[in-house]
Subunit: 138 residues, 2 copies
DNA sequence: CATTGTTCTGCAACCTGGTTGCAATGCTGG
DNA sequence: CCAGCATTGCAACCAGGTTGCAGAACAATG
């Protein structure tokens, strides 16, 4: 996504589009998969990890990104939900144990288990672990 | 589970039943829910965390326990699978964000998403986060 | 344009969970 | 009993995540 568009996207979510924030948003938009703090740090190269952490916290508070816990830390992806309150952009994720990347499984809806009485569910995390097609060759 | 039974259980899995290992196995059997390394350390009180770590690693290698990543670290539970190879004891887990405990959702089968071509799945982790019934009162 | 208060940022320090190296101890088989 | 391997506790380490702080950037106001 172009710098301009990312800047607008931030403003639409009530986030002031500082240069660093635009860089983080661009990195997330450009990646086809969720990125961890350190992946973002390496990709961008010019921003301190504490700032990336605070930027992602801000993004999350404004419903711009999802946090995904894939057993290898936390990764973030742009939330494509039509309505960030209802968070209808849920899907499973696949963590490759070889290349240690996390992919979105968008081919299928996130299957919802039956929740017993009394539990209040705030978020879902469905992680599959194994070997991705790229690493599975040969 | 009694000391005697735990000891047998270890031997059935090809694990030498040292006193410490029996303590860890008992703690896991006695708890109705998966426990983290530090929960085990606190519950048992007499065993060093590095030893608990190595004990759990051994248990896992012998198919005695599952590791569950619930976004709050790793927790372990006795694997009740009939056949540890096929690992048919899969179920979702619920992490309470208030008391920070993890519960098993055994009321329902773990729903399986459709996996795209080429991915080799080794394990599944389905975590729901929210507030458990005990913390949800009042 | 200068001033002031808030926001953003980088750096360094910290914390916690997980992991490893090592030396001492305990156990097992000859 | 002895040699050799398994088990253990301790201390150190590591990485990801988090916080405190002080300076830089910014927006608003007179």
């Amino acid at each position: 996504m172009a710098t301009e568009n990312c800047s607008n996207m931030l403003e639409e979510h009530g986030i002031r589009p500082t240069p660093n924030r635009v860089l983080v948003a661009q990195a997330l938009c450009h990646a086809a998969r969720p990125l961890s703090m350190s992946e973002l740090e390496n990709t961008i190269g010019s921003i301190d990890k504490s700032n990336i952490f605070r930027t992602l916290t801000t993004f999350r508070q404004h419903g711009l990104v999802h946090a995904i816990e894939d057993g290898d830390g936390v990764r973030y992806e742009i939330c494509h939900s039509h309505d960030c309150e209802s968070d209808d952009d849920l899907h499973a994720h696949f963590f490759c144990e070889v290349c240690r990347k996390t992919y979105c499984i968008t081919s299928t809806e996130l299957p919802q288990p039956t929740i017993p009485q009394g539990y209040k569910v705030n978020s879902l995390n469905y992680i599959l672990k194994g070997v991705c097609p790229a690493c599975n060759k040969g």
